[in-house]
């Protein structure tokens, strides 16, 4: 059942449009994310970044256009089905299971890798116990990798903001996704922690993870991304490497206002 | 000819009952809007309205004065209830408030029982126990009073929500608590206000329906349940929905028991209710987020 990957593009967005009550948030947008790259989407406030992100993650339904993941259309699939295909995400405003422990949060991330059904769980057949122990070990290893092992037993809601962001990333990775969607991973973090987050993302990518991120922190985007897509008013105004995008006149005007171009 | 008369007869009875349900549903909706909770105490306020009016009629000798005083008193009970039970909650989410109103309903019911007694009470209609005959159709005068008073109350409520600052604040808080708090609306006081209005509406319903049904301490659950059904039928949290839902439920019951069977009267009403909710889950006039599946 494996769809042949003819292009090496993991994610293909074609003519994607989203309108809310007359406002066109994303307008006939097309772009690709190659397997193994870090791609960033930037743009001024209201450029349509969040809407685009939500359409890819399955929270907002597009008005028109197609989203293909690994060659197959996913734009009509609900969020959980996209996760099943191999897309995991983090949230800008954190969607942590606050009342569950830090370890359990990551274990929920292993959900798709488990086989226990409601019936086998009720009966607690031996394989369920084995699966639990395996899930716990994997989750614990992830927490150790991200420096949260000491907090494993605490309620996730008691973590500091920066730790919650790291936890959400660990939880998303627990899914073993093929595409990682990061919604403003550096937002709200102090300099040092943002840099550490960037380093983590780079490490992940070095191990082969494809990343699509929406971010405001220019330093992070410029240093991290292989490819940058710049949006304004829901349209693409530039796409390319950090160098190319930085020099693009439309990008300058969109970010600095008209007077910068006039001057 | 006779069937047409019967039809009108059933219609007028249905509208009369429906108007009462609409008032109860309105109270239910106001609290739902401000807290997200189901208010189980709503029906107890209906009973209180009827029983306190009955008590006061003896003292005041004026029905109008007795009704107004009773409704105001029960309104104060509503305000007190919120201050004593909902306001002290540390984490006032919808579930906890719902459970608190269950406790409130038990306490209110036993209070009514202990103070006002277990015997059903009643009083004559506002124009005596007269019936008007219109073209062969006999309509209780009290039914007309019910319809007129309900209409008047709805007009006042509409003006309150649309015209007054307090009403607008209440609507704003219901739409978005956080945003309302940011622009300076005291969200806590809007919850208080909603309990007051809900008690007022419930008590009024009780005061005007008692001449037809008598009032007894144990009717609260039934009234609350009918009001809740009407609210759900019309669309939770919607004020026009309360009116539409109340009338629809009243007519459904009247026609259901007339044409099919009075044994299944409630089942018919609920079956239609559930059927409508299957087709339009947010009610006739309501809007709700449907989870994308």
């Amino acid at each position: 059942m494996n769809t042949p990957r003819s292009t090496g593009d993991l994610l293909e967005v074609e003519g994607l449009t989203c309108r809310f009550a007359g406002v066109t948030a994303v307008d006939d947008l097309s772009f690709r994310v190659k397997a193994g790259e870090i791609k960033a989407v930037i743009g001024p406030n209201g450029a349509g970044k969040s809407t685009l992100f939500n359409m890819i993650a399955g929270v907002t339904r597009p008005t028109d256009g197609a989203i293909k993941f690994d060659g197959a259309r996913i734009d009509r699939l609900p969020t959980h089905a996209r996760a099943r295909r191999g897309i995991a995400r983090t949230f800008q405003n954190l969607q942590i299971f606050c009342e569950m422990s830090v370890l359990e949060n990551v274990m929920v991330g292993r959900h798709l890798r488990g086989r226990a059904t409601t019936l086998s769980a009720l009966l607690h057949i031996p394989s369920v116990g084995a699966e639990e122990r395996a899930m716990e070990a994997t989750a614990m290893a992830l927490l150790e990798r991200f420096g949260l092992a000491a907090k494993a037993g605490l309620p996730a809601g008691s973590l500091a903001f920066g730790q919650m962001k790291v936890l959400e990333l660990a939880r998303a990775l627990a899914c073993e996704p093929r595409l990682l969607l990061l919604d403003e991973p550096a937002a709200g973090l102090p300099h040092a922690e943002a840099d550490k987050m960037a380093e983590t993302i780079r490490d992940l990518n070095r191990d082969g993870m494809t990343v699509l991120l929406v971010e405001h922190n220019m330093r992070m985007v410029m240093s991290l991304s292989h490819d940058i897509l710049v949006l304004n008013n829901g349209r693409r105004i530039a796409e390319g490497t950090a160098e190319e995008v930085r020099r693009h006149p439309e990008v300058l005007s969109a970010y600095l206002g008209e007077e910068a171009v006039d001057a | 000819m006779q069937t047409a008369t019967a039809l009108l007869q059933v219609l007028s009875a249905g509208i009369g009952t429906g108007a009462v349900y609409a008032l109860v549903a309105l109270g239910f909706n106001v609290v739902f809007k401000s807290t997200g909770a189901m208010n189980f105490a709503q029906g107890e306020w209906v009973v209180m309205g009827g029983m306190v009016t009955a008590l006061l009629i003896g003292a005041f000798s004026s029905i109008g004065l007795a009704v107004v005083t009773a409704v105001v008193l029960v309104g104060i009970v509503g305000l007190l209830s919120e201050r004593l039970t909902v306001q002290p909650l540390k984490k006032p989410d919808a579930l906890v408030i719902t459970l608190v109103t269950i406790g409130l309903s038990i306490v209110s019911r036993s209070l009514v029982m202990l103070v006002l007694g277990k015997k059903p009470v009643g009083y004559s209609g506002f124009s005596g126990n007269t019936a008007l005959s219109v073209g062969g159709v006999s309509i209780q005068s009290q039914t007309l009073w019910i319809i007129a008073i309900t209409l008047a109350f709805l007009v006042v409520m509409h003006a309150f929500f649309e015209r007054t600052i307090l009403g607008k604040a209440l609507r704003a808080a219901a739409a978005d608590r956080e945003a309302a708090a940011i622009v300076g609306v005291n969200v806590g006081s809007t919850v208080l206000l909603s309990f007051g209005i809900a008690a007022l509406a419930g008590a009024l319903a009780g005061a005007i329906v008692t001449p037809l049904t008598l009032a007894s301490y144990d009717q609260g659950a039934m009234f609350g349940f009918k009001g809740f059904s009407a609210a759900m039928l019309g669309g939770l949290g919607s004020l026009p929905g309360a009116v539409v839902g109340g009338l629809a439920l009243g007519l459904l019951e009247a026609f259901g028991s007339f044409y099919i069977s009075s044994d299944f009267k409630d089942a018919i009403a609920f079956a239609v209710l559930l059927l409508i909710l299957f087709v339009r889950p947010s009610g006739l006039l309501g809007r709700a987020d449907i989870v994308k599946v």
Binding site: A88, H111, A149 | M38, L95, L99, V107
Partner: protein
């Protein structure tokens, strides 16, 4: 000071430390203790109360699974209890099936009753399940009352046979106790097992943060539906126990008022705590016995007690130790 630092320092274990007994051992110990009940109570009336308490435990624990862990409110739990009781009882009285066949049938019928209302109601955000189930229970009661040919109507379903083991009828309270004891144990064990699996975690995850759960591949609609149907199925099992132990059922046992009270008992015991329902079941069984004798003022006291618990201990009676511990910890910090 140094000792406190040492205590709160970073853990070096890669596994979480597990204190005390395993969940299975703890549950087994509690049930062994409960086995002594028939030997220590003075008479058969008390054993009948113990049986009722165990049936109530199945009801409250299953509702707690839905409400405390699944974050959904059902106001038809007594209705599903009734569906189970009538399904099992009617199969026995009208069709001559043995109670042992009625027990699984009760679970299936109650589960189907939940499926029917759950599919439309759970597609909506917010507490629509609560609303829809309230109406559903009302309809069920009308059918229990009006379908006289099947249910016996207001007079109740008479002549229900007791369970029997190898031709030996469990027709006294003392003989029925081991059965209620064993079934309640199995239900508690099943709930405990479920909660300790990926399914249990997904149920809690959906209740805590639906969006987050969906992003990890959890189908929130199916998860909610499954836990609702499961919880109703367990109520159906309780119904079968009830009808064959009492050898009778009548509609008022399965109305909206008991549904509301079950909800209250989950909250009083402690929603989302495993042993909270045992406290809830104890209170639910005891209260009517006390209220039977003194009618008036006690109702008021009960209502006030409920309000006090809800306002002061939002996590229920089972949450009091944790609340006190939290208080102590805050003092020290």
């Amino acid at each position: 000071m140094a000792s406190i630092e040492a205590k709160t320092g970073p853990m070096t274990h890669s596994r979480l430390p597990r204190r005390g007994l395993s969940r299975h051992a703890r549950l087994a110990l509690v049930w062994l203790a409960l086995a002594a009940v028939p030997f220590v109570v003075p008479n058969a009336y008390w054993i009948s109360l113990a049986n009722l308490a165990l049936i109530n435990l199945v009801l409250i624990a299953s509702l707690n699974l839905l409400m405390g862990y699944g974050g959904q409110i059902s106001l038809a739990h007594a209705g599903f209890f009734g569906l189970g009781a009538y399904a099992s009882g009617i199969l026995n009285v009208r069709y001559g099936l043995p109670p042992w066949a009625g027990l699984p049938a009760a679970a299936v019928v109650a589960g189907l009753g939940a499926l029917l209302i759950g599919i439309p109601a759970l597609r909506l955000r917010g507490h629509y399940l609560a609303m829809a189930t309230l109406g559903w229970n009302a309809i069920l009661v009308v059918f229990f009352t009006q379908l006289v040919g099947l249910t016996g109507g207001p007079n109740g379903l008479l002549g229900v046979a007791p369970f029997s083991i190898f031709g030996h009828a469990l027709d006294t309270e003392a003989k029925a106790f081991p059965l209620a004891w064993a079934v309640a144990f199995l239900v508690m064990l099943a709930i405990s097992n479920l909660l300790a699996s990926r399914i249990g975690r997904s149920i809690r995850a959906v209740a805590t943060n639906e969006l987050g759960a969906q992003s990890l591949g959890i189908d929130s609609f199916r998860t909610k539906l499954a836990v609702f149907v499961l919880s109703a199925g367990m109520a159906g099992i309780a119904g079968s126990l009830y009808v064959h132990i009492n050898q009778y059922a009548s509609p008022e046992t399965f109305g909206i008022a008991p549904s509301i009270m079950l909800l209250v008992m989950v909250a009083i015991g402690g929603a989302g705590t495993f042993y909270g329902p045992m406290l809830g079941a104890l209170i639910y069984t005891a209260v009517p016995q006390i209220l039977l004798d003194y009618e008036d003022a006690e109702l008021m006291l009960f209502g006030l007690g409920l309000l006090v618990v809800l306002i002061l201990f939002p996590r229920g009676l089972a949450g009091i130790p944790a609340a006190l511990a939290g208080l102590v910890r805050r003092r020290r910090a």
